[in-house]
Amino acid sequence: MGNIRDMDTFKIIEEKAKIIRKHVVNMIYEASSGHPGGSLSCVDILTTLYFHTMYHNPLDPEWADRDRFILSKGHAAPTLYAILAEAGYFPIENLSSLRRIGSMLQGHPNSKVPGVEVSSGSLGQGLSIASGLALAGKLDKKAYRVYTLLGDGECDEGQVWEAAMLAAHYKLDNLVAIVDRNGLQIDGSTEKIMRLEPIAGKWGAFGWHAIEIDGNKIAEITAAIDEAKSIRGRPTAIIAHTFKGKGISFMEWINAFHGRALSKEEREIALKELSE
């Protein structure tokens, strides 16, 4: 149970998440392409990480002791960019240049963007990279923690499980993998395309501390992240159950919005809903 101060904090993060969602809607509309579904499902997770959990400094993106975040599901780049801009890594005006020629904001995360640790976009690679960062943290006796967000469809990739084995083997308790369990991948339901359940059981069997939460509830996200900090000797996987398109009624759980932009009318309705 959160106290009143927590509840105020959660309210602030929820409001921030709404702003991020509006940015995402506008960015993908203006770019005429992108991945709105999977960008919206993870807004609450990323907003919590950047505005509540992580130690980081937008004025000094290379600060050696910062917590690290890697967006392994790189197609949610609009969400990461919107958060980095809101946090002050670069001007908010830049967001409208997403996917434009010559823009810093590539369709998938690019490490040239201040605050982006590593380029991503090709699925299955982020957990390996995050594990390398976590190993380095242990080697250098640094206190920083490493977070990475994977898509659930991304867990089809064999490399994810190679990295899962390694992180448990090397007892990387400074590493947290969050799975955006929105239940959909490009071709349909994850359970129809390539069954993932029991997904928490899989992570557990690989030697991870696994937690299942509602990934669109700030209180549950923060509680899981706190729990992860208390776990010693193994990494934590947070299976965050989310809704693709979360926050916009006509997009929720509709797979057509995996990789298509909103029309003008759809944008109007979305922005209106997010302002309510």
Binding site: S122, S128, S131, D140, G158, E162, A163, L166
Partner: protein, 310 residues
Amino acid sequence: MELKSTKDAYGEALLKFGADNSIVVLDADLSVSTQTNKFAKQYPERFFNVGCAEQNLIGVAAGLAIAGKTSFASTYAIFSNRAWEQIRNTVAYDNLNVKIAVSHAGLTNGPDGASHQSLEDIALMRVIPNMRVIVPVDAVETEKVVKTEISNPGPAYIRLNRVKTPIIFDDSYDFVSGKAVLLHEGVDLAIISTGTMVYEALDASKKLKEENVNACVLNIHTIKPIDKDAIIKVAKETGAVITAEEHNIYGGLGGAVAEILAENYPVPVKMIGVKDTFGESGEYRELLEKYCLTSNHIVKSAKAMLEKMR
């Protein structure tokens, strides 16, 4: 003549220069074969065995590099290619300080057969932006390559051998990354070679000399970025070029040399390499013989080429 494999020299070089705390070494369950086990024994805290998981090998090496380390990632050449996309999309795209130092390249893993030989890797690595592709000739050059790469940030692919090959350089040899080495002068034709085939090229030049053919021998240890000027210079001086490599004739050193000469100074080029086929089990020398990769084959090609041009 002293013999030593370049992978043994690699293992010793890691040990020699490994005191530097920023160096980490990773292997995918082949540390005895790749010789990273020497470093592992001396610096266990900076050695990471990832098990037989090559995609993860590259990703973890990349993560360590992002955190400021110089990562050496080793396995067999052929298996590193399994992580080609990880190498392209993470290591090279972000210009990370990851050295992919791989052993058992070419046909040098003879008896293991085609599945364990690597005849396509130069081509695969050469097309990736930011990637340096280095094929040391011998143990001396290998040590110098490792030393140079430690202080030269960015991705590199270092191609090493299993078999013991002649040491042609001595310690005074001055290795400069990206700079070809003229090992033998000659005006009749140029033999441009890399790695194990450099020794065959030198041997061929001696045999040609006996027949009054003066062949120059150019060692291209760095296939990318390649020493364009040196290649054009020998082409101008001789007017005929033979390339020799333990690799598919497509896309490797021969391809790189042909690209340069076609655009800058077209001369007849004969490529010696494995003729777009897989290898097979056999002793190393037997394979070189069967796939026409010996000094005698170079001599034969040289004479045929000069005859045709007459």
